[in-house]
């Protein structure tokens, strides 16, 4: 560990002692923050994984329907059927504070009152597989929105945990040992100075005594 480059004075010593106390307190607080963030993160990441596999499975299913629909219908007819959506999804974005990480919260709003009002086409000229694809997607939409929320939260929290961990480590392994070593150095230097002053005083006293009493 490197000793800090400071003058070995009492002033510096008391300054360093104060710094050491606040570094210790900061270290404890940051460690608590890291632990709590980690706990929340583990809960979220489990939900994230669960949601992701559900969403991926549902979209793959919808895609299978879509592939079949695409093969039995003409491309243009398919596109035309989906061209003018009846439904529109709007999101209200809130904010949640988890250990000073601000994570977004989404609330879904549908333009038409009925969330199931999704078929933008007549049933006559379209394949039933298209209905299957659309309904599969519509069923998973709430989970997709939640996935977007959770995934963002996980990313933001992972960043914050990494940052906090670095800070904790820097305090624990660099700053606190440095302060301790410097404090030790100054204390030793000061007591050494003190001893040196005492000895020189004793020496001077001896000399003065010798002089005044004319000892030989």
């Amino acid at each position: 560990m490197a000793r800090l480059n400071v003058n070995p004075t009492r002033m510096e010593l008391s300054k360093l002692k104060k710094k050491l106390t606040s570094a210790r307190r900061g270290h404890k607080l940051l460690k608590d923050k890291r632990d709590e963030l980690m706990r929340q993160f583990m809960i979220l990441i489990k939900e994230n994984r669960q949601l992701r596999s559900e969403v991926e499975a549902a979209i793959s299913e919808a895609n299978r329907y879509m592939a079949v629909a695409g093969s039995v219908m003409q491309r243009e007819v398919l596109e035309t059927a989906l061209m003018l959506p009846k439904q529109e999804v709007e999101l209200e974005v809130g904010e949640k504070n988890v250990m000073s990480v601000y994570i977004p919260e989404f609330k879904t709003k549908y333009r038409s009152g009925d969330a199931n009002d999704i078929y933008s086409y007549g049933m006559a000229f379209t394949s039933i597989d298209l209905d299957g694809a659309v309904s599969a997607l519509s069923a998973i939409l709430p989970k997709m929105i939640r996935l977007a929320e959770v995934e963002k939260a996980c990313q933001l929290m992972a960043d914050e945990i990494e940052k906090t961990r670095r800070r904790v480590n820097a305090l624990e392994h660099i700053m606190i040992p440095d302060y301790e070593e410097t404090i030790k150095y100054i204390t030793m230097k000061l007591s050494e100075n003190e001893r040196s002053t005492t000895t020189s005083l004793m020496k001077v006293k001896d000399m003065v005594l010798k002089e005044s009493h004319k000892y030989h």
Partner: protein
């Protein structure tokens, strides 16, 4: 009011149009890059992007990782699931914990 977008090849994303998400059929990297920046600046809170499309613009997506909005989510394309979405999740765990503890 915020909106949600879907980006990818036509076959993979058309279905989302019916749900009322804004659908963008793009498959060229430069266009997707521009599109994402435009959407991010224009009140899009969630962007779903197919895994093959996302693979083309990884840098842009990483750029938005640490900002609060938009949330960019990978979804499987019609050709099948490449596992990129799950991989991103494992990366987040690795970043936070130091090693991948999900199995």
């Amino acid at each position: 009011m915020y909106k949600a977008a879907v980006i990818g090849d036509s076959a993979s994303v058309s279905g989302f149009a019916a749900l009322g998400l804004s659908v963008f059929r793009e498959t060229e990297p430069e266009k997707i890059n521009k599109l994402i920046s435009r959407l991010a600046a224009n009140d899009f809170a969630v962007i779903y992007i197919t895994e093959p499309a996302a693979a083309l613009v990884r840098d842009t997506i990483n750029k938005y990782r640490s900002s609060k909005l938009p949330s960019i989510v990978l979804i499987p394309a019609i050709e099948g699931n490449t596992g990129d979405g799950m991989r991103a999740l494992h990366e987040a765990v690795e970043k936070a914990v130091g090693s991948d503890i999900l199995n």
